[in-house]
Amino acid sequence: MSEAYFPVESGALGPEENFLSLDDILMSQEKLPVRIETAMPRLGAFFLERGAGAESDQALPQVRRAGEPAGTPERGTAFGLVPPPPLNLFLKLSKVIGFPDAEGLGTKLELPLWLAKGLFDTKRRILSVELPKMYQEGWRTVFSADANVVDLHKMGPRFYGFGSQLLHFDSPESTDISQCLLQTFIGRFRRIMDSSQNSYNEDTSALVARLDETERGLFQIGQKGLNDFQSWEKGQASQITASSLVQNYKKRKFTNMDD
C-alpha cells in the first residue's frame, strides 16, 4: 500500500487473462502448435513465416498503410463472431502483407496463444490445437515423480499461466493438465517459500534460476516481506525515502547540473 505504482497483475491463472496486464501480453505471445482444419485462401505471407505456405482470405483484416490504394475492401472477418479484438492484436497484424498463395488443409503451424484463442471455435473447426510437449503425458509423469528438480524456466518461462489458458481449448486431457499444474505447484511451493524467507542480503540467482515467472513473482514478494521486516526492526521504517518513481528524475537533474 505504500507503493507509488500498482501494475495490473496477471489474470492468467484465473478464468481469463487481463487485457491491461503486461505479464499476460508477454505470456500470450508464446507459440502453440496448431493444425488448420479449413482452407484459408489468400492468407499469404503471414503464415509463410510460421510454417508451410498459406493462402490469404478474409480471415484476417488487412491493414491499409499510407500510400497504398484502398484496394479490395475486406468482406467481413472471422472475428465478427468473436468479441472485439484486443489492442495488441492490431499491433501484431500490422505486419500482414497480403499475398496470394495456396494453403491446404492439415497444415501444421505455430501460432501465438492470442491468435489461436481468437480463431478457436468448437463449432466452426478452423483450428485444432495440439498440446505443447511439456503439457503432454511424458512430462506430466516427470512432474508427478518429483516437481522440485525440473527447470521450469527452460520449459517456457510462463509455465503456469500458459498452462491455465490452455484449458480453454477443450481437449480430453484438460483435467489431467489442471491436476498436473496444481500438483507441480504444490510440490515446488515449499522450497520457494523457505528460500525466499531465509535469504537476506544474499545473491539469490542460484535459487531463482529454475523458477518460472509466476514463482519468481512469489519469491520477490517473499523477499520484499523479509526486507520490510528487517528494516522495521532496524527502525528504518519511519524514515522517509524518495519514491522509486521520482528517483530517476533526481539523477538526471544532477547530470544536468554537472554539464
Binding site: F6, E9, G14, L20, S21, R64, P83, P84, L87
Partner: protein, 223 residues
Amino acid sequence: MTEVLDLHEQDSDGSSEEVVLTPAELIERLEQAWMNEKFAPELLESKSEIVECVMEQLEHMEENLRRAKSGDLKVSIHRMEMERIRYVLSSYLRCRLMKIEKFFPHILEKEKMRPVGEPSILSPEEFVFVKEYTNHTETHFKNVALKHMPPNLQQVDLLRAVPKPDLDSYVFLKVKERQENILVEPEADEQRDYVIDLEEGSQHLIRYKTIAPLVASGAVQLI
C-alpha cells in the same frame, strides 16, 4: 481517552438514528472499518459518519491539549494517541482510494446501477474523484494510443479491460454474532454444496463471496 481532559462523552451518528457512542466505542468502530476495508477484495460501504465523528474528536483533543499546561507528561501521551488515531484514519482513506483507482470502471458502473434507497459505497468527495480519474484515464488512453489507431479500433471498453475485483479470494474472519445456514460452495466439482453454522467467537478461512453480506451488516469481522 481519559476524563482528565474533559472530552465530550457523547457523540451522535450524523445519520437518521441518533446513536450515542462513547469515544472509545467510536475508535473501536473506526478500527473495525479499517480492518474490514484492508482485507476485503472489493470496496466496502463508505462509513463517512464515523470519519466525520473521528475528525471532530481529533479537533476537540487538539484544542484541549493547547489549553493544558505544556511539559506535562499527559500532554505527550495524548499527542501520541492522537497521532495513532490520525494514522488509522488516513490509512483507512488511503486503502479506499487505492481500491477506487484499481477498480474504477466497475465502481462507477455500480454507482450508476444503484437503486435510490440503498446507501452509497462512495462518499461525495470519492465520487468526484472517481469521475475525474475515469476522465483522465480515458483522455490519457486516447492521446497516447487510441487516436493513432484506425477508426474501427478506437474504442476500449474499460469495463472489460480493467480486471474485476476477485470476490472468490479467501479471507480470514472472526464471527461476532452467531449465524446459521451459510451455504458454502466448494471449489472442486466433486464436492457438493454444504451448509455450515458460524459460532460466535470462532475464526474461519472462507471465500469472500459467501460472507460478503455478513461483512456489510457487521456480523463478522475480517482479520
